[in-house]
């Protein structure tokens, strides 16, 4: 398969106006990815699927990644698509698309109409990261219950305070329990006081 630079060039020709950028993986993994802007991800994906040179007919893995705010960027949610070709037995081509972290603006176009295989995985990314996939046929929570309001895989998610204090040799569990307002036992002192009052 062609190098990523070539793919970028071809895709830029086929989809005019698309902003493409190459993002490198770890040096050893050698899996550079193509970052596409939100408005053109569908067209680029469609091109990669239908072009006879690539024929990316197998959308293997879809996932979200939450990048928190850093000095040089405001933070974003990234959706990563790993595409392979069953017909030509090559791959992967990795597409990335970014959306702001704010829940109301965190939208990207859904690629389920191109690959059915993305259906559940996009639902999962919605459930865990709060990415809204526009024109997804059935965007509901998939893992958590429907009444749940958070998106638990976000890095700033606060888990519910249902820890209990445990008799461990360390008291930090107790401290953490108190911190998050979890379930703490009545201490023996309190019980003693009660007994004394009686």
């Amino acid at each position: 398969m062609e190098a990523i630079e070539k793919i970028k060039e071809v895709a830029a020709q086929a989809v005019p106006g698309a902003k493409l950028e190459i993002i490198n993986s770890t040096p050893a993994a050698q899996q550079p990815a193509l970052l596409v802007d939100r408005d053109h991800i569908y067209a680029v994906a469609k091109f990669l699927k239908e072009d006879p040179r690539f024929q990316m007919d197998f959308c293997s893995c879809v996932t979200g990644v939450d990048y928190l705010q850093k000095a040089d960027n405001p933070g974003f949610i990234e959706v990563v698509y790993h595409l392979y070709s069953v017909a030509q037995k090559h791959g992967p081509i990795i597409l990335k698309v970014r959306a702001p972290r704010e829940l109301d603006q965190c939208r990207v176009p859904s690629l389920t109409s191109l690959w059915r295989g993305a259906e559940f995985q996009e639902r999962e990314a919605y459930d865990l990261y709060g990415v809204r996939f526009d024109s997804h046929p059935d965007l509901r929570r998939i893992l958590m219950w429907d009444e749940f309001t958070d998106h638990p895989m976000r890095k700033d998610y606060v888990p519910p305070a249902d820890y209990e204090w445990e008799p461990t040799p360390h008291h930090d569990t107790l401290e953490r329990t108190v911190q998050v307002g979890g379930i703490t036992p009545p201490t023996a002192r309190e019980e003693l006081e009660k007994a004394r009052k009686k």
Binding site: F148, P167, I183, T184, L192
Partner: protein
């Protein structure tokens, strides 16, 4: 009521068994525990393995796995109870007829186990229903499950039909249903049923002398 021990053993040699009714009754109950066929996670595979040929749970009269709670005596909570699943587990337990027992199999069912820190994992099924036997292990070996069944059988054999500490369901107003938690915005509501579960106590902040004085 009391039969002379010597007489009883003499009679036994002749093939005559003299028993209090209670013992006979408990013997019947303990030798035919029907578990609910209900696996939650990895531990369920070991549960199946212990019912399979090699470990053969049938030797203990507990091989009739029933698919419906209405015919089961024993719920083996085999696996991680997630918060999404917890209300259903409680409901299944409620649907079982009395007398009913519960074995928490594996670290997960006891306390959340390796997944305790998760946002969707219930930290032990004993937060909502009373558990009779806990089996540690991840997963417990089939022998451990067999041991738990034997422990439960011992427990059943020692239960009384009358007197003060008779079985729970012989009381007219006995509670046989446990409140089912509901799905909340962030967590289950309530996070624990305090009637059946209390967090462990801390005795760190008092000295022994103080306790003795009080």
């Amino acid at each position: 009521m009391a039969v002379d021990e010597g007489l009883r053993s003499e009679l036994q040699k002749q093939g005559i068994f003299v028993l209090p009714f209670e013992q006979l009754y408990n013997w019947g109950r303990k030798s035919s525990i029907w578990p609910l066929q209900f696996g939650l996670a990895c531990c369920a595979i070991e549960m199946i393995a212990s019912a399979a040929a090699r470990y053969d749970l049938a030797r203990f009269g507990a091989e009739v796995f029933r698919a419906t709670p209405r015919q089961a005596d024993l719920m083996i909570v085999a696996g991680t109870v997630t918060k999404k699943m917890a209300p259903l587990v409680v409901r299944l337990y409620n649907q079982m007829p009395e007398p009913k027992y519960c074995i928490a199999m594996g670290a997960c069912a006891i306390s959340g186990g390796p997944f305790k820190d998760g946002y969707n994992v219930l930290k032990g099924i004993d937060r909502y229903i009373p558990v009779d036997v806990h089996i540690p292990g991840c997963p417990p070996r089939p022998e451990a499950l067999i041991h738990a069944i034997m422990t439960l059988q011992r427990k059943i054999a020692n239960q009384h039909l009358e007197t003060e500490n008779r079985l729970r369901w012989y009381d007219k107003n006995a509670e046989t249903e446990f409140p089912i938690p509901s799905y909340g915005d962030h967590d289950l509501q309530p996070p624990a049923n305090c009637e059946v579960w209390q967090p462990p106590r801390s005795y760190r902040d008092v000295t022994l002398d103080e306790v003795k004085k009080a």
